[in-house]
């Protein structure tokens, strides 16, 4: 699998983190996204007319949608360890995967405005992201009351992997973790997963 990657994009990190936690290797093609905007160059627009990263290629297959990429990589894992077998739990996982990849794109955008010169109003985006992390924190509070520390159940799933980068990186746009104690505890659990890796902005406590 080839990942067209930019190290500082959290959406690319989501894919790298998943591959690492499922013991799969990715061939990384590093794209000069900032400041080069190479993903908007002619050859890249051929791969993804939307002009965005990440892009995943596997043989004839070329994927540009974040959740499609994440589901594909999670299914390539022989053990399929992050895809719940129980159908209700799998549906809950998909529900939170949608939250991570669609709703939380405001957090990705806020970070891009704060760090990478993207256009937008960081204060408005930050306020939206804060509301979403409240929803996550409320949910994780309920989960732990039921003895389930992950978003979809007792075991970590693809949704947790997809959610983690947004929460871990929100300090990059000046949203602190102070107000989200349940998410803080949950994030600590994610950090202990075998194969866990970091990226710039996510401290490695060595």
């Amino acid at each position: 699998m080839i990942l067209h990657n930019y190290d500082l994009y959290e959406d690319c990190f989501r894919v790298r983190l998943l591959a690492s936690c499922t013991e799969q290797s990715l061939e990384l093609v590093n794209v000069n996204a900032f400041p080069g905007a190479e993903e908007k160059s002619a050859p890249y627009l051929k791969l993804n007319p939307l002009g965005r990263l990440p892009i995943l290629e596997d043989g004839e297959l070329c994927l540009r949608n974040l959740s499609a990429i994440l589901i594909y990589v999670a299914e390539q894992d022989a053990q399929k360890r992050f895809i719940p077998k129980d159908s209700a739990e799998r549906a809950r996982m998909m529900d939170w995967l949608g939250f991570a990849c669609q709703d939380l794109s405001v957090a990705t955008e806020a970070r891009a405005v704060a760090l990478l010169d993207a256009p937008g109003d960081v204060a408005v985006l930050r306020a939206k992201a804060r509301q979403l992390f409240r929803i996550l924190d409320d949910h994780l509070t309920r989960q732990s009351l039921r003895g389930e520390i992950y978003v979809a159940g007792k075991s970590p799933s693809l949704a947790d992997i997809a959610l983690f980068p947004a929460f871990a990186l929100c300090r990059d746009f000046n949203l602190d973790h102070d107000e989200f104690p349940a998410a803080r505890l949950w994030a600590r659990q994610i950090r202990t997963l075998p194969g866990f890796i970091t990226m710039p902005g996510i401290p490695d406590y060595h």
Partner: protein, 227 residues
């Protein structure tokens, strides 16, 4: 970092005990003063000014190693007295004792970690006298603490504090359960409630309490937004 000169000396709840695991740290704010709350690996809780004297980095971004907390920037490590013990860039250096972080008086009672504020006040008053309780959740609300207290009174809360220094909690009866609510003023327009219940409280009651917390936050914030 700035402090209101007129703020009375008092014990303020800054976190639920069970939300700060051994070997971890978190940031919080009391009356605009940034505080790092951390627990050493032996289990003792600490509340300090949230600033490394070296470059001003927040200590709450750092990490705990045994009974030391280390800054994320350059790894300067401080012992439980707040004194810097180790500078990784100069491992041979005997660190001057003058490099230290200011500490708050810290205690744990009623399932909460309390800090004696403002910074630099000598501990004079005994901490709130609360029974053994278990934290359910902390809820952060965009409204003045007085307004939240008012909303709690409408729920029939009874201020349990009998003097100024331990007035930062109240109790509310939810069905037959006595719920203890620790009140933390973050800034003029923001506060946190730390919610704790007796250990034998059922899961069903705790779930109802979570609904209650979310409803309270929603209704108070809607009132505040309309004001």
């Amino acid at each position: 970092m700035t402090q209101t000169g007129s703020a009375p000396s008092q014990w303020v709840p800054v976190a639920l005990s069970n939300m700060i695991e051994a070997g971890t740290s978190a940031g919080t704010v009391v009356n605009d003063a940034e505080i790092v709350v951390w627990r050493d690996t032996a289990g003792k809780a600490h509340a300090w000014e949230d600033r490394c004297p070296h470059r001003g980095m927040k200590m709450s971004f750092g990490f705990v190693r045994g009974d030391h907390i280390a800054c994320l920037y350059h790894g300067w490590e401080y012992d439980t007295s707040g004194t810097c013990q180790y500078v990784p860039a100069h491992p041979e250096l005997e660190v001057p004792k003058s490099i230290c972080i200011s500490r708050y008086g810290t205690t744990e009672t009623g399932g909460m970690i309390w800090a004696y504020t403002p910074l630099g006040t000598l501990e004079q008053d005994s901490p709130p006298d609360l029974p053994a309780l278990e934290g359910v959740r902390s809820v952060y609300i965009d409204a003045p603490v007085a307004q939240v207290s008012g909303a709690l009174e409408q729920h029939g809360s009874t201020p349990a504090g009998n003097n100024e220094t331990n007035s930062n909690f109240t109790t509310v009866k939810l069905e037959s359960t006595v719920v203890t609510v620790g009140l933390q003023q973050i800034s003029e327009g923001r506060c946190a409630l730390h919610i704790a219940v007796p250990q034998d409280t059922t899961i069903a009651t705790r779930e109802a309490l979570l609904d209650w917390c979310e409803d309270l936050r929603r209704s108070v914030e809607q009132l505040e937004a309309a004001a």
